[in-house]
C-alpha cells in the first residue's frame, strides 16, 4: 500500500486514506489544462462562427475586455469552481480517481479551495513548470505542495476501480465467521506460530503476481525460515516443492478449528476493540 494519511472519523473508525502519487496528480493537472484549453477553443470557435450575428462585435473593445477578464477568471477560477461543485474534485482528478480533502478527512470548502488555488502562484514557479510544488510535494510526508500545506488539505486516492475482493478475502471472511482465524498450527512434529501462518497466507495470496523465479526463491526462504519450527514434521509431509509444502501447511491450518480471537501479533488499531 502506498503511503497513507490516518483520519479519525466521528464514529471512532480509523481510516487509512491512500495519498495520491505525483504521477497521478500530474496526469490530473495535464488533463485539466487540456480541458481548459479545449474550453477556450470551443468558446472561441463558437464566437467566431457567430461573427455575422455579432457584426462588429468581435472586434469591439468592449468584447475584447470581456475576453481578457474571461481568460483571467477561467484560468484562476477553474480549480475553485470544480472543487466546490464536485466536492474536492476537478474533472482531471475525477478521471484519475483523486480527491482533495481536508487533513481531518472532511470535504474542502470555499476557503481551502481558494487558498490552495491562489497559492498555485508560487507552486507553479519558476514560470509554469511547477518545480516548487513538485519539490515540496515530494519532500512532504503527506505529499502536500505549498498550497496544500497552508490550506490544510491533502490529495488522496478515491476510487473503487483498482480494488476488488479476492478469493483469499472470501476465505478469510468464511474463516472469521466460523470462528476460525490465524492460530498457531500445532502438528505432531512441531509448531508454527500464528505469525508464520500469516506470512504463509500473504505469500500465497501474492504468488500469481510474482515472477516464477522470484516465487520459488521466496518460497524457499520461507520454508528455510520455518524449518527449525517444523523439525521432523518436514519429513512426514513428504518430498514436495517449497510451494506445495506451503500450500499443504495452509490447508492443514484451515482444517483445524480454533476459536475466534485476535492473534497476539495483531497491531493495536483504533479504540473499537
Amino acid at each position: 500500500m502506498r503511503a497513507g494519511t490516518i483520519v479519525h472519523t466521528p464514529d471512532g473508525i480509523e481510516l487509512e486514506i491512500e495519498l495520491a502519487g505525483i504521477a497521478s496528480r500530474a496526469t490530473a493537472a495535464i488533463v485539466d489544462l487540456i480541458l481548459l484549453f479545449g474550453f477556450w477553443l470551443a468558446v472561441g470557435l463558437a464566437l467566431f462562427s457567430g461573427q455575422d450575428i455579432l457584426g462588429e462585435g468581435i472586434g469591439s473593445n468592449f468584447f475584447l475586455s470581456v475576453v481578457i477578464l474571461f481568460l483571467f477568471l477561467s484560468y484562476w477560477g477553474y480549480g475553485v469552481f470544480w472543487e466546490l461543485l464536485m466536492r474536492g474534485q476537478t474533472p482531471g482528478k475525477r478521471l484519475t480517481g483523486l480527491r482533495i480533502i481536508r487533513e481531518d478527512g472532511l470535504p474542502i470548502g470555499l476557503r481551502e479551495s481558494l487558498l490552495r488555488n491562489l497559492l498555485k502562484a508560487i507552486d507553479m514557479q519558476p514560470g509554469i513548470t511547477y518545480c516548487i510544488g513538485l519539490v515540496t510535494a515530494v519532500r512532504d510526508s503527506k505529499g502536500r505542495r505549498l498550497g496544500d500545506l497552508v490550506a490544510g488539505t491533502v490529495v488522496v486516492v478515491d476510487t473503487l476501480k483498482e480494488v476488488k475482493a479476492t478469493k483469499a478475502g472470501a476465505a478469510w471472511a468464511a474463516r472469521a465467521e466460523q470462528g476460525k482465524t490465524h492460530q498457531a498450527l500445532r502438528l505432531p512434529g512441531g509448531t508454527l506460530s500464528s505469525r508464520h501462518m500469516v506470512m504463509i497466507e500473504q505469500f500465497l495470496e501474492r504468488r500469481e503476481t510474482l515472477k516464477p523465479e522470484v516465487r520459488e526463491q521466496l518460497a524457499e526462504r520461507i520454508v528455510n525460515s520455518i524449518r527449525d519450527n517444523l523439525g521432523d514434521e518436514l519429513e512426514r509431509l513428504g518430498r514436495k516443492s517449497h510451494l506445495e509444502l506451503l500450500e499443504k501447511l495452509q490447508s492443514l491450518a484451515n482444517e483445524t478449528e480454533e476459536p475466534l480471537s485476535p492473534t497476539p501479533n495483531a497491531k493495536k488499531r483504533g479504540s473499537l476493540f
Binding site: M1, T9, D11, I13, L15, E16, I17, E18, S60, N61, F62, L64, S65, L69, L71, F72, L85, M86, R87, I101, G105, L106, P107, G109, L110, L115, L118, K120, A121, I122, D123, L149, V150, A151, G152, V157, D158, T159, L160, V163, A165, T166, A168, G169, A170, A171, W172, A173, A174, A176, Q178, H182, S194, Q202, E205, P262, T263, A266, R269, L272
Partner: protein
C-alpha cells in the same frame, strides 16, 4: 465457504451502491428515502466493523485494502455534505477585510515601507542625477507622455474597457504573487514590493525631471491611492504568512502557516475587490478629460473613504 460468500456479496453490493450514489452527483444523498438512508448508514457501520476485524485478525492485505477503500468512499459520501452549505456572506466579508488589516499593523507598515521608501529614494535620485533614469526606467517610458491633453485622447472612449480589464487582470496577478511569495518567508514579497517601488519612483522622477510632472500626477491621482494601497496590502498578506515561518510561536510552522493563511486570504480577497475598483477608475476616469482639480478631489475622496473604511468597518459598536 457459504458464509464467506455472503460477506463477499455484502461488500460488493455496498460497493455498487456507493458507485451509484457517487454518479448521482451532489444531491444523490438527499434523494434517498429515510429507509434507504438508514440502510446506507447501517451497511457503512457493518463495513467499518469488518474493516476493524480484518485489520486485527490479519485478513489478506488486498482485502484490508479493499475494505478500506470502500470505507473511505462511503465516508466521503456520508460526511461529504456537512460543510456543503456555506453561503457567501458579503456583509461578513466587508467587515472581515477591515478587521484582518487592523489585526496586522506591523505587516501593513512593513509592506508600505518596502514600497514607498525605495519609491521616494528613486524619485529623488533621478532628480539629482537624471542619467540614472536610463538604468531604472524601462525604455518605453523615455518619451512617454502620460496625460498631456494630447495623450488623453490617445486612449479613446472605446478602448477604455480594454485598458481597464487588462489592468485589473495584471494587477490582481501581481497581488497573487505578492501574497504567495509570503511563503518564501516574506523575502520574495519584499523584493516584489521594492522592485515595484523602484520602478514607480523612477518613472515619476523621470517625468517630473522632464517637466511632465503635473500631467503624470494628474494621470495617477484618481486611481493611484486605491491601486497602490491594494498592492501594499497584498504584500502585507504575504508578510503575515512570512511571519508564521519566521516566528511560528508555540505551534508548529505548518499550524502557524495554516492560521496565518486564513488571515492572509481575507486580506488578499479584499485587495482583489480594491483592484477591481482601481482598474475601473484607471480605465474610465483617469483617461477622461476631467481637469486637474477634479482629479485631486477624487484622490482625497478615495483616501478618506479608505481611511474611514479601515478605521471603522467591523468594529463592535459601529
Amino acid at each position: 465457504m457459504q458464509m464467506g460468500q455472503t460477506k463477499l456479496q455484502e461488500w460488493e453490493q455496498f460497493g455498487q451502491s456507493l458507485e451509484r450514489l457517487r454518479k448521482g452527483g451532489k444531491r444523490a444523498l438527499t434523494k434517498l428515502s429515510d429507509s434507504e438512508l438508514t440502510r446506507l448508514i447501517d451497511s457503512y457501520q457493518a463495513l467499518t466493523a469488518d474493516l476493524a476485524r480484518a485489520r486485527s485478525l490479519n485478513a489478506p492485505p488486498s482485502t484490508v485494502r479493499y475494505l478500506n477503500r470502500l470505507a473511505v468512499t462511503a465516508h466521503s459520501l456520508i460526511y461529504g455534505y456537512s460543510r456543503a452549505k456555506e453561503p457567501i456572506n458579503f456583509r461578513a466579508g466587508y467587515d472581515a477585510f477591515a478587521r484582518a488589516v487592523r489585526s496586522v499593523p506591523g505587516a501593513v507598515l512593513l509592506a508600505h515601507l518596502c514600497f514607498w521608501v525605495p519609491a521616494a529614494i528613486c524619485f529623488f535620485l533621478v532628480q539629482v542625477d537624471a542619467t540614472l533614469a536610463y538604468q531604472l526606467v524601462p525604455p518605453g517610458f523615455y518619451g512617454f507622455e502620460p496625460t498631456s491633453e494630447a495623450h488623453m485622447h490617445e486612449i479613446p472612449q472605446l478602448t477604455r474597457p480594454v485598458v481597464a480589464s487588462s489592468i485589473i487582470a495584471n494587477n490582481v496577478q501581481v497581488t497573487f504573487l505578492a501574497f504567495a511569495l509570503g511563503l518564501s518567508a516574506g523575502l520574495g514579497t519584499a523584493l516584489l514590493l521594492i522592485y515595484n517601488g523602484v520602478h514607480i519612483g523612477a518613472v515619476a522622477g523621470w517625468m517630473t525631471y522632464q517637466g511632465k510632472g503635473a500631467a503624470l500626477w494628474g494621470w495617477i491621482l484618481p486611481h493611484g491611492s486605491t491601486e497602490l494601497i491594494a498592492i501594499c496590502l497584498a504584500g502585507a498578506a504575504g508578510f503575515v504568512m512570512g511571519e508564521a515561518i519566521w516566528a511560528p510561536g508555540l505551534s508548529t510552522r505548518v499550524k502557524a502557516l495554516q492560521r496565518a493563511g486564513l488571515l492572509a486570504l481575507k486580506i488578499e480577497l479584499g485587495c482583489m475587490v480594491m483592484l477591481l475598483m482601481a482598474g475601473l477608475i484607471e480605465g474610465y476616469v483617469s483617461p477622461s478629460s476631467i481637469n486637474f482639480s477634479a482629479r485631486v478631489v477624487i484622490l482625497v475622496a478615495s483616501l478618506a473613504l479608505w481611511a474611514a473604511y479601515f478605521w471603522r468597518a467591523g468594529r463592535e459598536n459601529s
